[in-house]
């Protein structure tokens, strides 16, 4: 017995913590990049963003005055297609990052490879989040330049315009924010359809509900939702009833952070 244990317990040298984190990141990155549909999703997001930006930019560029409710905002116009249509497919990708493993049972292989479940969730969030930041920033800049080119001579602004650069960078962060909301909800709900429905609910339906509330509540509650916060981050004309751009950016970060926290607590407790 003693001899067996002596030979059996020849533990390998413990890798340092950073090495484990790097392993987990490499694991998730390899999984993310090896699914073909993820590239189609990115292409669809890009096509939707650019296509709708072209339409909006052309329409607004053709009119001499601003659209009815207020003064024309060349920045908000830039990101209509991106924020309303481009973000959705990538959010679905975020949901699938977890639920596709859950539905195939691959999550068990993942948890046997990396038994620390917080590490798994953190690595997934880091990898999909980083991919979404890259995609979001690329699309935000593309949409910005495209719109300004279409608006040029009338309402367009350059990147050097005060606030423009921050606005474009901030718009890029809407993508990771929504994707991580999707990832967290996927981890909580563990079913693809349910996860997508919940993500669409959080991102699109709750703000729609807020819009139908009576006047003071509309903004009082609405300013905590992702689209209202995103509006404040990108707009040139701040709405006084909503949060400042800095607080709005915090809202964009708080939603995924809170949902991922709940997801982490749940998956650390649940049997896989």
């Amino acid at each position: 017995m003693t001899t067996r244990q002596a030979t059996g317990a020849t533990a390998l040298p413990e890798p340092p913590a950073w090495q484990r984190a790097a392993d987990a990141l490499a694991f998730e990155w390899t999984k993310l990049r090896s699914i073909r549909s993820n590239y189609w999703t990115l292409l669809i997001a890009a096509a939707a963003s650019i296509g709708i930006t072209l339409i909006v930019g052309h329409t607004v560029g053709a009119t001499s005055a601003g659209p009815p409710p207020g003064p024309l905002d060349p920045l908000v116009v830039s990101f209509l297609g991106y924020a309303a249509y481009g973000v959705l497919p990538v959010t679905v990708l975020g949901v699938l990052a977890f639920t596709s493993e859950q539905s195939t049972g691959l999550i068990r292989t993942t948890f046997t490879a990396v038994p620390r479940r917080w590490t798994v969730l953190a690595a997934k969030a880091a990898v999909t989040g980083a991919a979404a930041v890259a995609a979001g920033e690329v699309l935000a800049f593309a949409c910005f330049f495209l719109t300004q080119a279409l608006l040029s001579g009338k309402h367009g602004v350059s990147l050097a315009h005060p606030g423009a650069l921050g606005s474009v960078l901030g718009a890029g962060f809407l993508m990771p924010s929504c994707v991580l909301v999707g990832l967290g909800l996927g981890a909580i709900i563990r079913h693809t359809a349910g996860g997508i429905a919940a993500a669409v609910g959080v991102i699109y339906l709750i703000p729609l509900l807020c819009l139908s509330l009576p006047a003071p509540w509309r903004t009082d509650f609405g300013r905590f939702t992702l689209p209202f916060a995103a509006y404040q981050v990108v707009t040139l004309h701040l709405q006084a009833a909503l949060f400042s751009p800095a607080v709005s950016l915090a809202v964009l970060i708080a939603w995924p952070a809170a949902i991922l926290l709940i997801a982490g607590l749940l998956i650390a407790r649940r049997d896989a």
Binding site: G8, A11, S34, G105, R108, V138, F145, P162
Partner: protein, 423 residues
């Protein structure tokens, strides 16, 4: 942020020159996506430097991004039209180079796992030792998979413990290098290639690409490494699952029903593989609900039913103590001989065509007895009740789901010619 009343008039915006960066971004994005599409399909249209040159010529920074995100390194020679590296066929498993000596014990003690009202595992204790193939047997729903999931840290034990080499699974820093496991061969993402599936798992534990190539060779999957797993047959998926378990060259291996869905050749391959792994001093635990399979592959048996331990023994001892024997007798004076045999304390079961089976006396004794009384004997055939029957006997009381009709017991229990039931 509040500057710029845009309705005031035209302001100097970017002109047509701004379209150039847009086009560059859009084209780069599209090319990047297409390149990666090609990569995931493992189709090598061009060598990787060809891609790099094309991308660098079209947009310098796109090439840089591409190189940072990882140059194309395909699984070796996968695409049709490229010379395939000579690889041994799947038949006999190669010897595995042992990087470390000695497997570790799996110790399960007083393990209880409840799911709400249902008790899946009920105070189970056993240990699995290195150097043997240990068969983990039980009918469906006996708690085999649950036990394995608790050992692997996938499910939390309600009470009791399961440790490998003295440590809980979750405490192992790079677990795939210590414990290889196959729980469900179907648990793969269908749109990943076998190569990338294994590569991702290898990376999670700092295992190199060479080892991925190696396990693909060991399991005979090298020819299909570049194919998407969704198109694999169940047998190929089982091989892929076994390749996953072998990735870290672990001293401890656990397989849950590895022969399910395999053809006879595949079953034999697994049996030989398990034996070879155990012969190298590894700890090998294999679950199955088929006794016949385990009798051939395993030399230790842990049998459970309804979450409780029924037997923990060697296969040999199990056969000796459980496999009952009887003798088939045919005689023109069957009734007389049956009475004589019964008088000597043996029991008799009538069979077809006036023959009967005798339990409790061996064939020489029956032959002598018949000769003593001048009774002719036409047939005298010693028979073994199969291991399968013994196993069914043992587990019948604990089977969750059983087809109606004959209870397994009835096959061996005997009835005297006068109709009195006996054991």
């Amino acid at each position: 942020m509040t500057i710029g009343a845009t309705a005031a008039g035209p302001r100097p915006g970017p002109g047509a020159g701004a379209l150039i960066p847009i086009l560059v971004i859009a084209v780069a994005f599209a090319v990047f996506c297409l390149v990666n599409l090609a990569r995931t399909r493992q189709v090598r249209y061009l060598p990787k430097w060809g891609w790099a040159i094309i991308i660098c010529l079209s947009m310098p920074w796109g090439g840089i991004v591409y190189l940072i995100l990882g140059p194309v390194r395909e699984a070796p020679s996968l695409a049709p039209g490229y010379p395939a590296r000579p690889q041994p066929t799947a038949g006999a498993p190669r010897r595995f180079p042992r990087h470390r000596a000695g497997g570790a014990d799996i110790e399960v003690s007083s393990l209880v796992k409840r799911y709400g009202e249902v008790t899946a595992v009920d105070g189970l204790s056993f240990s699995v030792r290195p150097g043997h193939v240990t068969g983990f047997l039980g009918p469906n729903g006996a708690g085999k998979t649950t036990t394995m999931r608790v050992i692997l840290g996938l499910a939390a034990a309600t009470s009791g413990s399961a440790v490998i080499g003295g440590r809980r699974y979750a405490e192992i820093a790079r677990p795939l290098r210590e414990v290889g496991s196959l729980l469900d061969a179907q648990a793969v993402h269908g749109s990943r290639t076998a190569w990338l599936h294994l590569l991702s798992i290898a990376r999670s534990n700092g295992i190199g690409r060479d080892r991925v190539t190696e396990v693909l060779g060991l399991t005979g999957l090298d020819a299909v490494a570049g194919r998407r797993v969704g198109g694999f047959s169940l047998g190929m998926k089982q091989r892929l699952g076994i390749a996953t378990a072998l990735l870290g060259d672990p001293p401890v291996l656990m397989f849950d029903e590895p022969v399910n869905g395999l053809d006879p050749e595949g079953v034999r391959w697994i049996r030989e593989l398990l034996r070879a792994l155990a012969a190298e001093g590894r700890t090998v635990l294999v679950s199955s609900h088929l006794m016949s399979e385990m009798a051939m592959a395993a030399d230790q048996l842990v049998i459970i039913g309804r979450g409780r331990l029924l037997a923990d023994t060697t296969t040999e001892r199990f056969v000796e103590s459980n496999a009952r024997r009887n003798v088939l007798v045919a005689s023109p004076r069957a009734a007389d001989l049956a009475n004589l045999v019964t008088a000597r304390g043996a029991s008799v079961t009538p069979e077809d065509d006036g023959r009967f089976a005798v339990t409790g006396m061996d064939s020489p004794a029956i032959g002598d007895l018949a000769a003593e009384h001048g009774i002719a004997v036409h047939e005298l055939v010693p028979r073994h009740a199969s291991l399968e029957d013994a196993y069914l006997d043992l587990t019948s009381a604990s089977t969750d789901y059983r087809a109606g009709g004959t209870a397994p017991d009835e096959r061996i229990s005997s009835t005297a010619p006068d109709g009195t039931a006996r054991r």
